[in-house]
């Protein structure tokens, strides 16, 4: 199954995990403490986020810490920026059209 960042952020628990570790790197146990769901369920969410490269691991002593992978998050923003430019272009054309029509009417 192909995993991508959109799937990853489609789930509310995963979005919450991303928000949590955006502030500071956390161990799986620290993350799980913030949720009602089982440690196993949270661990599965962490695994998906890791597979999507939205978060990365760092070993500190015997503990694994997860941190946010900012570059990957930017991928989504890149798409949104392109979408924004399409609409800007579209609306600029509408500006021109409106101004042409108004001139003709005079």
């Amino acid at each position: 199954m192909r995993r991508d960042i959109y799937q990853a952020i489609a789930d509310p628990t995963r979005r919450a995990i991303l928000t949590l570790i955006a502030v500071q790197a956390m161990t799986p146990n620290m993350i799980a403490d913030n949720f009602e769901s089982s440690r196993q369920a949270v661990s599965k969410h962490i695994q998906i986020l890791h597979e999507c490269e939205l978060i990365s691991q760092e070993n500190v002593g015997r503990e694994i810490y997860y941190q946010l992978n900012i570059d990957k998050m930017k991928e989504l923003d890149k798409w949104l920026e392109q979408f924004r430019r399409i609409w800007e272009n579209r609306f600029e054309q509408l500006d021109n059209l409106l101004s042409t029509i108004k001139t003709k009417k005079k």
Partner: protein, 167 residues
């Protein structure tokens, strides 16, 4: 007055909704016509170098706008907007998606809900476009399908293209 920028582009990633607010330097009835009459839509709806070409339009509740985005190499991507609710000179809603030239919906491709509202400021008009996708993944597909030639071209090409369109 400078009017060539989007005043607000808000992305709600949790609700897969994008809201675009834009002011236009024309009175409301004309702006309304530009958004709802196909002979005007054809002149601005497609981002350069694409052109929109309407096959049929019925701007009524339950009616449809069937059109193609045609590319410089003669490529055609067919799209539809099914109008749901229309309050004249106030707002309209529609469901939008991709289809073939007969209007047969391509169910594998994303669909989105539009809510377009119009507010008069006297000589100018503010239009708020709200687009709701089933997921933001679909947004990526929408961009690829609507404005990029095929799926193979690298997204970097699109960035270059978009830069050119901006000029």
């Amino acid at each position: 007055m400078k009017h060539n920028l989007i005043n607000d582009f808000a992305v709600d990633k949790a609700n897969n909704t994008i809201t675009i607010t834009r002011e236009f330097a024309a009175e409301l009835p004309l702006v309304w016509d530009a958004f709802t009459k196909s002979e005007l839509l054809d002149q601005w709806w497609a981002p350069k170098p694409w052109k929109a070409k309407t096959k049929s339009q019925s701007f009524t509740e339950g009616g449809q706008w069937l059109y193609a985005m045609t590319g410089p190499e003669g490529e055609e991507h067919w799209s539809f907007a099914n109008y749901q609710t229309i309050h004249n000179h106030d707002y309209y809603t529609a469901k939008d998606g991709f289809c073939d030239s007969n209007g047969t919906i391509n169910k594998d491709m994303p669909q989105s809900d539009w809510h377009m509202s119009f507010k008069s400021n006297g000589e100018t008009t503010t239009v708020t476009t709200q687009l709701k996708f089933q997921s933001l993944n679909q947004l990526e597909m929408t961009i690829q399908m609507g404005f990029k030639e095929g799926y193979s071209a690298a997204s970097d090409n699109l960035v270059v293209l978009l830069e050119e369109w901006k000029k």
